[in-house]
Subunit: 214 residues, 2 copies
């Protein structure tokens, strides 16, 4: 199986980075191939803008959607996007691993979605290539998240609310929208203050989860 | 009234930019003060990282939450963040105006939230300064969004689902979390293909909405 691992934590010695290192090892030991997009260490550019396009359909008025449609046909995205698109095409499973910032992705990961899940490449609403006909059909996606908040804050009755409902804009409106099958999100709550015993437990729990999907 | 207008569209001649220009004029004509954070034209840095901090609480291990708590006490955020925080303190109402990318904010706007709504400045979970005690209590927030999808896609029975539920991670878990009162989101659906008549109508409808809150 080919796994694309998209990772967004700025500290190489963080708990999340330890999880990512263990994941790479586990995936490889099972005989799978892995490619890593470590967004902070790559210095990945988050903002979709004019520089994403080597040629312009309309040089006078920048319409991101129309430029993406054209660049998807012509292969004229900037090199950093083309390179990520190659990884996406290659992958059977995409793992999105990030710490929750305001019940969402850190900006650098949202930017990876905005720029690489381009119109014409990942979806095409004009041709109804969305949801069950999305252009990334056949691939699977999984979120791996850590949050400072404790689990009860993210329960249906909690102060934030049900985390699966709150993340539906990603699982449904992003991943399912481009045609991917969504695997259950792997969650680590209360990640701000963990004992070394809990760190070990959480690494083991994540390893078991990975083994169950590999 | 003091209005902070946070805007995220890369094209100065887009429909969204026309809405923004009209909004500035309307707000000023009513005798209110406005400050603009036009994130693309400012070249605002989206990714929260080590360079956000002029001094480090822990130079060896970068923990964004702990560094934000310290920098909020000491006033040691990088200049671009300090400058946005001054605008936030000054504002009575924050208007977040952006085109929907994957049922969320463009990365550049998510980055503005990640970096300026810092722990210790906008909220403090340790001291229970969240939600009704959030540090930005007394301020109001409003989203102004445009989306390519038609309105029926974002209805309860639609393919995406109820847009107000999908955006709850922003309205509730971000804006209400930091203590702000949330005004009804102003939405423009089907913004990808609008006749000039519809453009005029939408500008008027937005102007009426602004007048109702000023």
């Amino acid at each position: 199986m080919n796994i694309l691992y998209i990772f967004a934590h700025p500290e190489p010695r963080s708990f999340n980075s330890a999880m990512k290192e263990m994941a790479i090892k586990t995936i490889e030991e099972k005989g799978n191939e892995i490619r890593l997009s470590d967004l902070y260490s790559m210095g990945f550019k988050p903002a979709l803008d004019q520089s994403d396009f080597l040629q312009r359909k309309d040089p006078d008025l920048f319409n991101p959607f129309l430029e993406q449609i054209t660049a998807s046909k012509e292969g004229t995205f900037s090199d950093d996007i083309m390179s990520e698109m190659e990884k996406i095409k290659w992958a059977d499973v995409l793992i999105f691993h990030f710490p929750i910032y305001f019940t969402g992705m850190p900006a650098i990961m949202k930017g990876w979605i905005d720029r690489t899940f381009a119109a014409g490449f990942a979806f095409s609403p004009i041709k109804d290539r969305v949801y069950e006909n999305g252009l990334l059909k056949g691939k699977k996606a999984m979120m791996v998240i850590s949050t400072g908040a404790e689990e009860d804050w993210y329960s249906r009755e909690g102060r934030h609310g049900d985390i699966n409902e709150l993340l539906r804009y990603i699982s449904h409106c992003t991943f399912e929208y481009v045609g991917m099958e969504v695997l259950e999100t792997h969650m680590i709550f209360g990640a701000g203050k963990m004992s070394s015993e809990r760190v070990t437990e959480e690494l083991e729990r994540y390893q078991m989860r990975l083994n169950s999907i590999l």
